[in-house]
């Protein structure tokens, strides 16, 4: 039994904003299934009373003064943009 179906792979690809072909979906399904199946080993462990670790160090909120910093010049910001016009980044149509 697969732990992840082709339909789920396509759904996850969509959430990940990745275009995939049928061929690729099939290949990723096999590979992801192998990884997810291997990861089932974690179920051997009873973690009922274990706290999750999001961060290894005993570090709490780090505060700083809320002071506005200097912004970047428009020219710098646009330097790497694939397409821009009149100081703004241009993208394909967002709404029809």
């Amino acid at each position: 039994m697969s732990r992840i179906s082709i339909e789920q792979v396509k759904h996850v690809a969509n959430l990940s904003r990745l275009a995939v072909t049928e061929q690729e979906a099939l290949q990723f399904q096999k590979q992801l299934d192998a990884i997810i199946t291997y990861a089932q080993q974690l179920n051997e462990l009873d973690t009922e009373n274990v706290e999750p670790t999001t961060h290894v160090l005993d570090m709490k909120n780090v505060w700083r003064e809320d002071v506005a910093g200097k912004g970047l010049p428009i020219k710098e910001v646009l330097k790497n943009a694939p397409d821009h016009e009149d100081g703004q980044i241009r993208v394909p149509a967002i709404i029809e």
Partner: protein, 485 residues
């Protein structure tokens, strides 16, 4: 190629005495790169013109007898996931093939202040995802000890460049073993510091709770000098630790007499080649002779580390890599009818398969209905893995084992199955999950390929890691071996 085998101390003395110039060292570096890099393929971008200008500037300062720091005028290579202002930074990915950063990573600011000269940007596995450097979108790196073999990954270019004498020092980054495993495969010294020891500002994020920058060098001493410059709290990275940075050099020579070494039985067990195990037992004999005591211990959750790591690191990566969308920088797919199509095509064309696989695995592990079973479960197991280390460190100063279960493998040998590739990192990943520091130093050869000894320390106790590593290095000659190119 003589210059490129001298220590930081020795080069600095010669620069002060004017027996050598920074320009000489930079020239020797580029000469060597031009001589061998078509075979190693460690560099993606060279910074030749600016490097010579920098060298001339430092030469003037040396000539006018300014009081200069130890690293002033010395060249370094930088892994291409560390942001360098006005110097192309690609993460070895098509999606950033033309990215020209407008700021510097904090480590770059620190290196520049110390006077180090960036000679170029170094090849890697795309977005640091990989253990062989075969995932570079541009070209694979070859192991200087045998060009048919991988250098390890993801900092394989950094380790190979140092091993091949192309550059004296390099920066790498380590998320699950990406400094230590290539250092082991290439026979050089690579340190993954404690999580939080070095600022991650300007390190292109892969898995933010694991990523650390670290130095790769020929010797432990040089490595210690570099860490001292790189380490420290940074207002731009609130996970960087606000702790004093010791003078690591001063404690190198303290020896190991009376120190307690733990040797996890899981690190010498299944999957670890007998020759690798033998090299570690030989190393332990040397430590015994020097007065250290070692005992077998257990890190019982080690076998769960790989699953834990791939779930957590991929989950974090799926969020971190969402910023690559073709809008503000990098590659954009042409001819998309609408924004959504542009995102999907850009990412499909811009990312390689391993990166896509991990983004999808992470998205799956975080998705509604699976979050508790995968992501949260893995975070809980991470706690158990971390506790394994804490228990051992109650009674021991360091933990020692191999860095990798085998020496380097052949290019193409493990590319068909992601799971066999992932298994190369079984001995480095638990350390990353626990966030403790660890170094890989050369400790032998198998079939003319280097083997690495991994020394693991307590949180923020890099001084002890270096001290134990230095003692072994002084007692052996493995670090002096050179690949024939």
């Amino acid at each position: 190629m003589g210059i490129l085998h001298e220590s930081i101390q020795s080069l600095h003395k010669k620069l002060i005495k004017r027996e050598m110039t920074s320009t000489d060292i930079v020239k020797a570096t580029f000469d060597r790169i031009h001589e061998v890099d078509d075979r190693i393929q460690a560099f993606l971008t060279l910074n030749e013109e600016k490097a010579y200008q920098e060298a001339a500037k430092w030469d003037q300062k040396y000539a006018s007898k300014e009081n200069l720091g130890l690293l002033a005028g010395l060249p370094i290579g930088i892994k291409d996931n560390i942001i360098t202002k006005n110097l192309r930074t690609t993460c070895a990915s098509k999606i950033l093939y033309n990215f020209d950063p407008i700021y510097n990573a904090t480590v770059m600011e620190k290196l520049n202040t110390a006077g180090m000269i960036t000679v170029g940007k170094i090849n890697m596995d795309e977005f640091a995802m990989g253990s062989s450097n075969e995932n570079s979108a541009f070209k694979p790196v070859h192991n200087p000890w045998n060009l048919d073999y991988v250098p390890g990954g993801s900092s394989g270019g950094s380790a190979a460049a140092v091993a091949a004498g192309e550059v004296l020092y390099a920066l790498g980054s380590d998320t699950g073993g990406s400094i230590r495993q290539p250092a082991s495969y290439c026979g050089v010294v690579g340190l993954k510091p404690t999580y939080g020891r070095i600022s991650r500002f300007g390190l292109v994020a892969f898995a933010s709770s694991l990523d650390q920058i670290g130095p790769i060098t020929k010797t432990v001493e040089d490595n210690a000098y570099l860490l001292e410059v790189l380490a420290g709290v940074d207002p731009m990275d609130c996970t960087s630790a606000n702790l004093p940075v010791p003078k690591y050099f001063e404690s190198l020579n303290k020896g190991v007499k009376g120190l307690r070494i733990a040797v996890p039985k899981e690190y010498l067990g299944e999957g670890v080649l007998p020759e690798v195990r033998e090299s570690i037992l030989e190393a332990l004999k040397i430590y015994e002779k020097m007065g250290a005591i070692w005992e077998e211990v257990s890190l019982p959750h080690s076998k769960y580390a790989l699953s834990t790591y791939y779930l957590l690191s991929s989950s974090e990566a799926s969020a971190n890599l969402s910023r690559f969308d073709g809008v503000r920088y990098g590659y954009r797919s042409k001819d998309s009818d609408n924004l959504m199509e542009m995102y999907k095509n850009t990412r499909a064309e811009g990312f390689g398969d391993e990166v896509k696989r991990r983004i999808m695995l992470g998205t799956f592990a975080l998705s509604s209905g699976y979050y508790d079973a995968y992501y949260k479960k893995a975070q809980k197991v991470r706690t158990l893995i971390k506790q394994d280390f804490e228990k051992v460190f109650e009674q021991f100063d360091v933990i020692i084992g191999p860095t990798a279960p085998t020496p380097a493998f052949q290019i193409g040998e493990n590319t068909s199955d992601p799971m066999t590739m992932y298994a190369n990192d079984i001995l480095t990943i638990p350390v990353s999950l626990a966030g403790v520091p660890a170094i890989s130093i050369p400790c032998g050869f198998m079939n003319h390929l280097p083997l690495g000894l991994q020394i693991i320390g307590k949180h923020f106790d890099e001084a002890m890691v270096y001290r134990v590593a230095y003692a072994f290095e002084q007692a052996t000659d493995y670090h002096k071996a050179q690949p024939k190119l």
